[in-house]
Symmetry: C2
Subunit: 155 residues, 2 copies
Amino acid sequence: MSRFTPLDPRNLFKALESANPSDTLPSTKTLLDAVRFNEAGLLPAIAQQFDSGEVLMMAWMNREALEETLATQRVCYYSRSRQKLWRKGETSGQQQQLKTATLDCDGDTLLLQVDQTGPACHTGRRSCFYVSLSNEHATITSEPLIDPATLYGKK
Amino acid sequence: MSRFTPLDPRNLFKALESANPSDTLPSTKTLLDAVRFNEAGLLPAIAQQFDSGEVLMMAWMNREALEETLATQRVCYYSRSRQKLWRKGETSGQQQQLKTATLDCDGDTLLLQVDQTGPACHTGRRSCFYVSLSNEHATITSEPLIDPATLYGKK
C-alpha cells in the first residue's frame, strides 16, 4: 500500500510534492478523487505531439472523459459548447492516440502527450496556436494542411 | 490597414481562421479587445521552454498581465489565490523570458514560448507536470533540481 493512500484527498497533491520516482503512489482512482476539477467539473488538458514537442491544442475534460481516455488510449474531451463527450476525431477523423497523461503539482491541469493524426485544429492547421502577438503587431504563423471543408465533409 | 480591422471583435477570430502568414493583421490592441477572457477576466497561458519543447506549467493571465508581458518580455501572470499580478520569479528568482506569445483559433488560450531560469515549479522541479497517470497506477516522473526551501528563502 502507498504511504499516501490514507491521506484526505484535499491534502494528497500537497503531500505528493515531496514524493519521488521510487515511491509507490495511490491508485489512479484515488488520485482522480483528489483532482481539482473546476466549478463546472472540468480540467484543462493540453495536448502535445509526443515526438516533435509541438503544443497542438488545449481543451477540457470531465472525470468521465479522463477515465475513458486512460482506458482506451484514445483521447476524449468534454465539449463545453455541445455539453457532451467529444472523442477527438469523431467527425474529422483526426484522432489523438494517447502516449502519456501527466497531472501538475496542484492536480488542476493535465498534460497529454499524444500522436496526432493530421491536423489538430478545426481550421485544418496542425496546431490551434497560430495567432502570434508582439507588443504592437500580430501575425498568422501557419496555414491549413487540409481545407477544413474537406475535413468536415462539406466538399 | 488590415482587412480584418473593421470587424466586430466578436467575429474577429472566426474571420482569422482563413488568414495566412502574408496577411496584415489588426493591431495587438484590437486583437486583445477580441480575446475571449473567461467570466473571471482570465485566459489560460501555457508556458513551454522554447528550445527543448518541454511544457513547464499552465497559469492564468488577465489583460493587464498579458499587456505587461508583451511590453517587458518578462512573463507576468495573474495569481488567482493572491488576486494580483504575479511576476514569475519575483520571490524565487526563477524568471521566464518571453520568446513568443501565440493565441489559439478561438482566442481563448495562449501559448508562451519562454526561456525559463531553473525550475518552473514551486516544488523545485523543472516542470509542474510530474504525476503520470495510467489506467490503474500513477508514478512521479521527476525530482526537484533545487530544494524548495532554498528557492523560497526558508533555509
